[in-house]
């Protein structure tokens, strides 16, 4: 018989520990963490504005001055998250509640009080540096903003990695002449955001509707199933097109629409699981013990039925990233924001193949999807108590 389990360890903590005991899940987590760091610190990693300049003995930081409210909110949320994870000894629920409130507060204050200059001229720093107006300059590791099209460099366009002699573009440049590496880093924000939020919305709706359908069955199930069928018949692409036409191009609308059109799969999974679980003797015993409905649904049924959902969710995140890529490819994506799909779009133009435009964004999409799948798989095994501790 295996060892007893420490009573002080909660279910979630044990599952997390077991998930990341696996090498494959760690690799997946490492990739996603890297992306997260890229996303949070994007302005500091790739920016045309210098980090610090000394001009006639006076120090200034154009980079900080040009930070947008979004950048600041993201940074604040990240630092707060790290802080709460390590410092606090509050309970999980309290910590999450505190976190959500603090993040909201940060984003509201950032939107109210931070107003970066409307007009940005990226070229001025390079020109000033050329005529040696600065005493010294500290630049970001990649001294190009994603939307710095380098008009000062003359007729730039698609350039191979490290093709130009004076300028160093590690991954080449895209059609308008902007640095590809810089755009890749900034695009990780969209990839992560759309994956998490769209899947989160879909899972939330799907689990609730599917759970009710599976537990109550009867007419609730009938109505729910018709709802699922209706949503499965809605063509996501046309819905997005319509919304783009009415409300303009917005990342948030894209997230919400991908979310509310893809919950039906989760609902079906959860419904099937709940129908099966309802007949399980431990659920019957829980009903016979007179436990409240909340406990039956969320303690006895959901943790036992969540495994297929988590695997589906890892694919869901991947497919949301792909959906965004497809939209961008079709020209329905965001106009000027960098995104991996939009970059892929430029790989083949007028019958020539620009390999760096396919290789780097394609690789990033591939690794991200792969990382989510690895983590989903490890999570599924960790949730199943039969796969560890022997039997």
């Amino acid at each position: 018989m295996a060892d007893s389990i420490d009573p002080s360890q909660g279910f979630a903590r044990r599952v997390l520990r077991d998930t990341f005991a696996r090498t494959s899940a760690r690799i997946g987590l490492a990739w996603i963490t890297l992306l997260l760091l890229f996303a949070v610190f994007a302005p500091f990693l790739a920016n045309s504005h210098p980090l610090l300049i000394s001009q006639g003995g006076q120090l200034s930081s154009p980079l900080l001055a040009h930070l947008s409210p979004g950048d600041v909110a993201l940074l604040g949320a990240f630092l707060l998250g790290v802080g709460l994870a390590f410092v606090s000894k509050l309970s999980w629920i309290k910590r999450i509640a505190l976190y959500v409130i603090a993040v909201l507060a940060i984003s509201i204050t950032a939107n109210l009080f931070i107003t970066p200059p409307k007009l940005t001229i990226y070229e001025q720093y390079r020109e000033a540096q050329k005529i040696e107006r600065y005493d010294w300059v500290i630049r970001a590791p990649i001294p190009y903003s994603p939307r710095d099209y380098q008009r000062d460099e003359g007729d730039t366009g698609l350039e191979q990695p490290l093709a130009a002699e004076q300028r160093r573009h590690w991954m080449g440049t895209e059609a308008n002449g902007a640095d590809l590496f810089s755009r890749m880093i900034h695009a990780s924000r969209i990839a992560l955001g759309i994956g998490f939020v769209a899947t989160g919305i879909a899972m939330f709706i799907g689990v609730i509707i599917g759970g009710l359908m599976g537990y109550f069955s009867g007419w609730v199930d009938m109505v729910g199933m018709r709802l699922v069928e209706i949503f499965e018949a809605v063509p996501t692409l046309f819905l997005l097109l319509t919304f783009v036409a009415f409300f303009g191009r917005s990342l948030y609308i894209m997230m919400v629409i991908i979310g509310i059109t893809s919950w039906s799969g989760y609902a079906r999974y959860i419904r099937a699981e709940f129908l099966r679980l309802r007949q399980q003797e431990y659920v019957q015993a829980a009903i016979a013990c007179g436990l409240p409905l909340r406990s039956i649904l969320f303690r006895h049924m959901l943790p036992n039925g969540i495994a297929p959902i988590l695997v589906a969710a890892s694919f869901g995140v991947a497919s949301a990233i792909l959906a965004e890529a497809v939209l961008s490819f079709l020209g329905l994506g965001l106009v000027d924001e960098p995104s991996w799909g939009q970059m892929l779009n430029q790989a083949v133009q007028s019958s020539s193949f620009y390999w760096w435009m396919a290789f780097f964004p394609g690789g990033a999409i591939f690794f991200t999807v792969f990382a989510y799948n690895l983590m989903g798989e490890a999570l599924r095994d960790a949730i199943d108590p039969h796969t560890h501790n022997g039997g």
């Binding site: 420490d6 279910f11 009903i287 013990c289 007179g290 303690r299």
Partner: protein
């Protein structure tokens, strides 16, 4: 000797460890003889059978020692003694199915659902006798079905397995096995999944076929009743070894090895009956009046209700405090549905359930919650009766919390420890997960959970049918103790007459949703009135010589 197993060892190698499933097992089977291997689950009896058939996956199993000598009768009538362990896969194929046939426990899954019965029999025939024509093979298939006494074999030969009842399916399996006239038939728990009346028919059929063909039978079972009826000689296995073997009549009457003695003593009919003081109060706890549970059968586009399945059809019962009422019946008779309807886990469609004088049949969910505390249930399957995600502590404490028993968490944990002691488990079991326990232990935890809310009435739904006899004996004794201690009223649902005799004060026999006979257990067993009860009691295999 038809089959001679000499010092056979079978080891199963998994990635982490090596399991010595069978160690140093020797026995012999002659033509026309029935040899029984008896043992509890995990004793290695099935692995022995699979080793003889060489059906274990070659990459995980190894035979460090031993020989399996089999008299291989070639097609030209020449008989040669071969060691099965040394045979190549191709020569094994001429033995398997043709000379040694096997039937399995679960008739549901051992027939291929996408082929008709006839196709499955003729396939085996044509494989081993390629010269047989299709028409001839079909004739022989019908013959084989006639031999196993399936009614109208000319029609049944073209049926798919799902159209046959469990008993008929097992007959078809036997027909398939016997079609090639094997010299040895290995039957691995052939009747465990069947009702007693069907079991009796199948066993009689196997005996008849044996006298007709002179085949040797290796019968694997855990049921001493079956052994007593079938075996010429038997061997008792424990932990992969044979602890005792000999002629059946002698071994059952005078077991020598302590393990055999313990097994026989654990049979419900051999358990010592404690004199029990009559119940303090004869208060009626549960009274069921004309209870009906009808499930609608819906058909067509508009899901109109065309008919009802009458699972429970007008049942009257009373259970008194301190009394055990056994509800007996074969599978599909509605006994489980009745138990669930009394607890309102299934909604009754008619009649009344009175609990301590209150009608709970039409009670609202909210009011029902407080009655749930007094009515509990223990289920059959120890695998699925506990939530695999929760520790035992949570499983026991949550019901207490829901009903406000115990002031705080510490007090509830103390109570949970007490409960575990009552069901003879140690207190450190609290922090384990269900899969870390054996079936019997899990069943004890299920009982502890039912007791956690201090019920006055418990429905026990086949609580011992998935357990080995020795474990079953412990659980039955535990239930009796708890009953006396707490003056519990128990509704004990079972198909095992031996258990009924040992445990219950009164019994009710159920057939097709109705109760056909009711009365004091001793009276019903000694002088059954209804025809069905008589048939049922006659079919029970008993260990008597």
């Amino acid at each position: 000797m038809l089959l001679k197993v000499e010092q056979l060892s079978t080891h199963l190698n998994t990635r982490a460890k090596r399991v010595k499933a069978v160690e140093d097992v020797s026995f012999e089977i002659d033509r026309g003889e029935t040899f029984c291997l008896v043992g509890e689950s995990g004793s290695g009896k099935s692995i022995t059978a699979l080793s003889i058939m060489q059906l274990l996956p070659a990459d995980i199993c190894s035979h460090p020692s031993g020989r399996i000598l089999f008299d291989h009768r070639h097609d030209d009538g020449r008989i040669e003694s071969v060691d099965i362990l040394q045979q190549s896969e191709s020569s094994l194929q001429t033995i398997r199915g043709a000379r040694i046939a096997m039937i399995f426990q679960e008739p549901m899954t051992s027939l291929n659902p996408v082929f008709t019965i006839g196709e499955q029999i003729t396939e085996a025939l044509q494989l081993h006798r390629p010269e047989t024509s299709l028409r001839e093979a079909r004739e022989r298939a019908i013959d084989a079905l006639r031999q196993v006494q399936i009614p109208s074999p000319e029609l049944k030969v073209d049926e798919f397995p799902h159209r046959l009842s469990g008993g008929q399916r097992q007959r078809a399996m036997i027909a398939m096995a016997m079609a090639c006239e094997p010299d040895l038939l290995i039957a691995d728990e052939p009747t465990t999944a069947l009702d007693v009346t069907v079991q009796a028919e199948i066993l009689r059929l196997m005996k008849e076929l044996q006298t007709k063909t002179g085949a040797g039978i290796l019968l694997i079972t855990h049921d001493f009743g079956v052994v007593a009826q079938m075996a010429d000689r038997l061997a008792v296995m424990q932990h992969g070894r044979i602890v005792e073997s000999g002629p059946a009549s002698q071994l059952i009457r005078q077991p020598q090895h302590p393990y055999t003695q313990k097994l026989l003593a654990s049979l419900p009919e051999n358990l010592p009956k404690a004199d029990r003081k009559s119940s303090k109060s004869a208060k009626v706890v549960v009274e069921v009046q004309n209870l009906e549970v009808h499930f609608p059968v819906k058909k067509g586009l508009f899901r109109r209700t065309v008919d009802h399945v009458r699972a429970v059809d007008g049942v009257d019962l009373t259970v008194k405090a301190g009394q055990i009422l056994a509800l007996v019946g074969e599978s599909g008779c509605g006994k489980t549905t009745l138990g669930r309807a009394i607890l309102r886990l299934t909604e009754p469609t008619g009649g009344k359930v009175m609990f301590e004088g209150t009608d709970i049949t039409a009670m609202q969910r909210r009011h029902m919650q407080s009655f749930r505390r007094s009515m509990q249930v223990v289920f059959q399957d120890p695998l699925s009766s506990l939530n695999p995600r929760l520790t035992i502590a949570t499983a026991l404490i949550e019901p207490m919390q829901a009903h406000g028993i115990g002031a705080d968490k510490d007090e509830r944990i103390a109570r949970a420890e007490q409960l575990l002691q009552q069901v003879q488990l140690t207190a450190d079991s609290l922090w384990r997960y269900p899969h870390q326990f054996s079936g019997g232990q899990r069943q004890r935890i299920g009982i502890a959970r039912a007791l956690s809310v201090d019920p006055t009435f418990i429905v026990c739904d086949e609580v011992t049918s998935a357990l080995d006899v020795s474990v079953q004996a412990e659980i039955l004794q535990l239930l009796l103790e708890l009953r006396d201690e707490r003056d519990l009223a128990l509704l004990f649902i079972t198909h095992n007459i031996g258990v009924v005799e040992y445990l219950s004060d009164e019994m009710a026999v159920m057939l097709d949703g109705r109760i056909v006979e009711r009365g004091k257990t001793a009276d019903v067993i000694s002088s059954p009135q209804a025809d069905y009860t008589k048939k049922l009691l006659a079919a029970v295999p008993r260990v008597k010589f």
